[in-house]
Symmetry: C2
Subunit: 306 residues, 2 copies
């Protein structure tokens, strides 16, 4: 095999009460990449469609991630990368992570899989770092491993994959507004109340217990973020109204995807997810802000060859 075509799924990070640690992988939304093994050593980005991104390897998320695995594997060849973006940059559903994950996954496949998927997360983080300014696994972990992922810690990186209960669907509403990463960071308080932290970790514990025991009601009761959402929602027009419309339509829970502006809801079953998507859309039409809607089962497979 000298060429591989890859589907690089979108992801939801900062999953509500699981700020900075929990994410999930989506099914129907993602980029495509083509990676070719070539004789000349090194990494070259030969084509990008769907977005205005740098072709220089060391300035491109996919390029930097590719270099990380390339330098670790030291193969006697090089790779050309084509990126066909479908996930909009700045949407809050892991656009840059999809590119980083796709690059390391594709190269690993072409090299005969010297690394495990867990090991690939580390390489992809290097690429993600040039987009977000720090090495974070929130989006690259669910993109590479699929399902739900918990990043327990970073020293060393410790990522746990949790299989998604089969009926979990995610609905994502992406308002076409820009939320600057610097703003969504600045709005957070570096200091929080212990009692709020306890509420949050009780909920995160409940979410993880609900995922393992496939207890949809427990998952729903646990999707409460008392620390981040109350601050960041101010950056997203109509957040409370859209969230309430999702809950009223039967969503298990809802929240901000990544650092926003996308708003997500989790639902049990496709029928409810479609009802929730309709309710969220109807509500958002009032704002006059253009938006995209996605309804997707949670993708238990992660990045894959197509």
């Amino acid at each position: 095999m000298t060429e591989i075509k890859i589907f690089c799924p979108a992801t939801i990070a900062n999953l509500n009460c699981g700020f900075d640690v929990m994410g999930l992988c989506l099914e129907g939304i993602g980029d495509e990449m083509i990676i070719r093994k070539v004789a000349d050593k090194g990494i070259r980005i030969t084509k990008i469609t769907g977005a205005d991104l740098p072709l220089e390897t060391d300035k491109n998320v996919a390029g930097v991630a590719a270099l990380a695995i390339f330098n670790a594997a030291k193969p006697d060849c090089g790779f050309e990368i084509e990126i066909h973006k479908k996930i909009k940059a700045g949407s809050g559903i892991g656009s840059s992570s999809a590119s980083a994950a796709g690059a390391v996954f594709g190269i690993n496949e072409l090299l005969g899989k010297p690394f495990t998927r867990h090991e690939l997360v580390d390489f992809a983080m290097k690429g993600e770092a040039i987009a977000s300014g720090s090495e974070h696994a929130d989006n690259v972990a669910p993109c590479i491993l699929g399902g739900f992922t918990l990043v327990r810690g970073y020293n060393p990186l410790d990522v746990i994959k949790i299989e998604s209960p089969s009926e979990i669907y995610a609905v994502v509403l992406h308002p076409h507004i820009e939320v600057k990463t610097s703003d969504s960071r600045a709005i957070l308080s570096p200091i929080i109340a212990l009692k709020d932290a306890i509420t949050q970790w009780g909920n995160l514990g409940g979410l993880i217990a609900g995922l393992y025991s496939k207890d949809y009601e427990l998952i729903g009761r646990s999707l409460q973020d008392v620390i981040i959402e109350p601050l960041r929602k101010k950056l997203i027009p109509n957040f409370d109204e859209v969230k309430n419309s999702a809950l009223n339509a039967g969503a298990l829970g809802a929240g901000i995807s990544g650092a926003g502006p996308s708003i997500f809801a989790l639902c049990k079953g496709q029928a409810i997810a479609e009802k929730v998507a309709f309710a969220m859309s109807s509500n958002y039409l009032d704002t006059g802000i253009p938006f995209d809607m996605h309804v997707s089962r949670v993708n238990d497979e992660g990045v894959k060859k197509i």
Copy 2:
């Protein structure tokens, strides 16, 4: 059945990274109680051995808990309670909770089980409140449900039982010193850093994932408390040394039981637990402080008839 004899197990609350939410139930350590159905309505405590505790129903943890279930069930009879304490008060392994749990469990059995074990936790909390000053389920939940328990939240009470992986053993070292509850509360900071909270909830997530997936190494990696232990350990002589001796002897992790002064370690298998108990004891002998040691499998059953 008009009389029941009950084993009321000791428990570990504030389980490391699970401060205020996670607890577990012990097997070999516990009180005994005898409860009798009598014609005269009301709750009477007729005998207490092993501790100097009030016989007045409304001043006794077991009495208040018993009144809570009695007032809810409104039976056409009354109950007499004998308490034989074996868990030392102030040890940090749920002495008062054992009495509260035993009372509600026993009365529920004699009434033909009108309430589920989950419902009993609510009644037992009423009793626990007169010992601790507030309604907390940290110890009563594992005592009644067995295994590991997560208290997700209180409005309404939401307790999740997690079955213990079969090889988990707990080692408890109880130094015979008094740590005042007021001191162990006052030493905590009501305000914490968000980054520490994230580390903590990543670890709590890892602990719960480890329990469900029976991944002992993940359980061990997750047993890190960066918020409470660094403050409270100052109240426990030789804490760091004992903890290190437990880890060096092969414990998965260790921490403060409840609000102290007991120190616990979790281990995989009885052989390692005994080695760890020996290492902890050897270390504590240096302090000159008298202590008790307990080695116990985690008790998946909880409070029970004997």
